[in-house]
Amino acid sequence: MSRIGVFVCHCGENISRTVDVEQVAKAAGEIPGVAYSCDYKYMCSDPGQTLLKKAVAEHKLDGVLVAACSPRMHEKTFRKAAEAAGLNPYLCEMANIREHCSWVHEDRGMATAKAKDIVKLMVERVRKGKSLAPITVPVTKRALVIGGGIAGIQAALDIADAGHKVVLVERDPSIGGHMAQLSETFPTLDCSQCIMTPKMVDVANHPNITLFTYSEIEKVEGYIGNFQVTVKHKARSVDEKKCTGCGVCMTKCPKKKIPNEFDQGHGMRPAIYVPFPQAVPNTPVIDRENCTMFQSGKCGVCAKVCGPGAVDYEQKDTFTVEDVGAIVVATGFKLYTIDRKPEGSPIQGYGEFGYGTIPDIIDGMTFERLASASGPTGGKILRPSDGKEPKQVVFIQCVGSRAREKGISYCSKVCCMYTAKHTMLYHHKVHDGQAYVFFMDARTPGKGYDEFWRRAVEEEEAVYIRGMVSRMYQRGDKIVVMGSDIQVGTQVEIEADLVVLATAVQPQDGADLLAQKLGISYDKYNFYSEAHAKLKPVECATAGIYLAGACQGPKDIPDTVSQASAAAAKVMTLFAKDQLERDPVVAKVNEKYCVGCFACKKVCAYGAIEEKEIRDRQGNLVKKVAYVNPGVCGGCGTCQATCPSKSIELDGYTDEQIMAMIEAL
């Protein structure tokens, strides 16, 4: 038989004005299981809390119900008081007789009757409640950052600066990502590489950062605080420890005419290469598909010229398992590059634009390389087909983006701004050139953004034409751009020397596969889903995994850096304690009765449910049952409502508690 104390609060007059609190306290005293009841003017005040603590001691109470305001208001207050009095805080509950009663009803009799009922229900909840202890999960204070673009770099540096170890994994031979490819950045037009490369060097030199480039995530196991991540280190064919980065191998490599990915295929590189001069690490890799040694077994020049003997043709892929407590996913984006509908893709192409067939129709990133001082043209705007300086350039926005009929309905967010930037860069470099922009809307929210755009239009003489392009085709050495100007209401035809498409921002290839390894969710475009669009924009639904940058949705650099720092802050919060302590309202499995249908697993949004093998003493498999990882469980209880035999139960909201409450109705 329980001994519950019921404390009815007047809340000044907030409750007592419409609820007869004395009557409520008296009625509460008659409820079986209630050993003590009283009413008091302000339960949340110091004297009120003292009253509660005293009563717990004097009446040997084993549970406490405070009938007062909403638990959202003072549940913590009273649970703390109950704990101070020696009770388990989860045996302290609140009956909401203010927000749900006195404030919303005028009839004193009815309100009092309702308050009594609410108290009765909640007494049952306390009676059937159990002591719960906070769940602690040990935390490995080491983070994994996936992706070495600006998002990953920023997150890694922030976490490392806070004193935690970080493993940064990059798929390409160098970190830097897309930002390293950019010429200048909006809205300040400062040189991208000038601000990016120091950060890359910081990463390389940071004592807390372990950098794995040319590496990929193979497998992810574990859960928040305790992930085991298998990293695949692709064979570089160059021993990173021996290589000094002198670059002789690259200059001596006889095969030099390989299109350079970093320059969007517009520059050339050797078969043994670093993607760009400022690459970090400055260790080359051998592109085995294009290397004569690997293809025909004859050459070996690089090995011969390498002083330290770092070139190793026999090198194999290796794997390491990294123990980490948190993961930041920063895998970034790619640009929409399709000219026709690829097989199996829901996204339609732009065959009508001649993209991919007409060499002087390029995408925005190629234009960045043309405009970059370190690019294939040394920063001169020269068109790809004949290397001539284009005098009329047409920029087309929203290629792919906001085109529902083409399969992408979202806005890529950065194109309005970078196209404006492109017109300026063009204008600065080709003074007699004319830039035309076809656009639907100019979207310029952001500090200094609209000013920047207006400058492009008003000062830098870009001609903005509101409307879309219907067709482009080659006529002589010109590209005829046919479109409409919907503001004027006429058809437009421009003979362009170069066309630049602001193609849509898409998640990286394989984003879905990585998400499956991580157990995080993604939308229909493969952008990763945050746990809450507003309040948890950097957390994944899967605890311990955070998002940074364009992998979650199109973003510009400042937003990406902010989110990266936010993700880092989340990681640091997690690492602030040795053990992760969390609300014990989690599900537990009754292994005796679980028959392993795994309906719970199917409905769990957190991936908290695993399959566990039950074996007898001889080690024979008896059955498989569900197991809830308390560190991962979100505590929604959907599993329990789904389980036919109720062999999984949510602590704090057990069937016994709920049934008793319904019984007391």
């Binding site: 008659e30 079986p32 299981g33 005796k592 008793a660 019984e663 007391a664």
Partner: protein, 336 residues
């Protein structure tokens, strides 16, 4: 002196008894099934089919309250059921395989403990049995020592005659009293020839031999062979006229509720499940073995009676076709 009653007068008798405020129970069409149910009038009586459930529920209801409790001012108040309210009851139209069951069950209900719920109802009841002229290939009353015209258990016994009337025999004083109180419905005489009985497929069994075999074969491969297919429902026990196991449950809350007694079945996996979780009858064939043992050995050991009337209900109802008559024949035919 032999007496007869016409079918119309039998129905009139029911009308009268209802008017006398007696509870009259007999076979009645309820939905698509015939069940023993209270008859509101003589016309409700149907004698075409053996009711799906036996008449035992007259004395041993499916479920009954045995007490109620309520916590008041800290003390638990317990209220017993007022058994004096149980009505005077007449059961009409039960064939020997049903009418005979109370005669078997009286023993266990008044053994070491008197089940006052059962006994009170029994004291207040009169059973009008009727000889069975129907039957199908599941019937085996003869095999277990009963017969379509066995009077055991009946207070008044009716035998259907070829002209549609019934020959009446007062078997007990209760039966005699029933006739005496409604003498004008009965006529003197032997009447026409009785309706002949139906042959039964199962030969008479040597129950002594079966009991002996059971005594010696608590462990035997037969149990697995015949009962591994048992799915563990309670259909056989619930519709059986002789099965009488029950469970007791408190329903409601810990402060306000009712203690109820209701039918239980040895086929259920939870039947002898201990609080520890251990169950001595851990597999289904051991549970089925208990059904046979209880009917043909334990009950006989204790009370000298066989706990089966051969009504064949369990054979007809078993979801997986377990045939108790076949099992008995198998045991009967065993040499060892």
């Amino acid at each position: 002196m032999p007496q007869i009653i016409t079918e119309q007068n039998l129905r009139n008798l029911i009308d009268l008894l209802v008017k006398e405020a007696k509870l009259v129970v007999g076979p009645k069409l309820s939905g698509s099934v015939v069940l023993y149910e209270p008859l509101a009038a003589g016309s409700d009586l149907t004698l075409d089919a053996l009711p799906r459930r036996s008449s035992k529920e007259l004395f041993f209801p499916i479920c009954e309250d045995i007490l109620s409790y309520k916590r008041e001012n800290g003390a638990m108040k317990v209220t017993d059921v007022d058994r004096s309210k149980f009505p005077e009851t007449v059961l009409i139209g039960a064939p020997p395989c049903d009418a005979g069951s109370p005669a078997i069950l009286d023993a266990v209900m008044s053994w070491d403990y008197n089940d006052e719920f059962y006994l009170e109802r029994r004291r207040k009841s009169t059973i009008v049995g009727i000889a069975c002229t129907k039957g199908d290939d599941a019937c085996f009353c003869r095999a277990v020592g009963l017969a379509p015209d066995a009077e055991g258990g009946s207070d008044l016994f009716l035998t259907p005659l070829k002209d549609g009337s019934y020959a009446c025999k007062a078997v007990t004083d209760k039966g005699q009293a029933l006739v005496a109180a409604h003498q004008n419905l009965f006529a003197d005489g032997a009447g026409t020839e009785p309706v002949p009985f139906v042959d039964q497929a199962v030969e008479k069994l040597d129950l002594v031999k079966i009991k002996k075999w059971l005594e010696e074969h608590f462990e035997d491969p037969l149990w697995e062979k015949i009962a591994d297919i048992c799915v563990g429902c309670g259909a056989c026990a619930f519709i059986c006229p002789a099965c009488h196991c029950f469970d007791i449950n408190d329903e409601g809350s810990t402060d306000d509720g009712v203690r109820r007694k209701h039918w239980d079945a040895c086929g259920f996996a939870k039947f002898t499940n201990h609080a520890s979780g251990h169950n001595p009858r851990d597999v289904q064939n051991k549970r089925y073995r208990n059904r046979i043992m209880h009917k043909f050995k334990y009950y006989d050991d204790k009370f000298g009676k066989t706990l089966c009337t051969g009504c064949g209900r369990c054979i007809r109802a078993c979801p997986v076709g377990i045939d108790i008559a076949e099992i008995l024949e198998t045991i009967n035919g065993k040499e060892d």
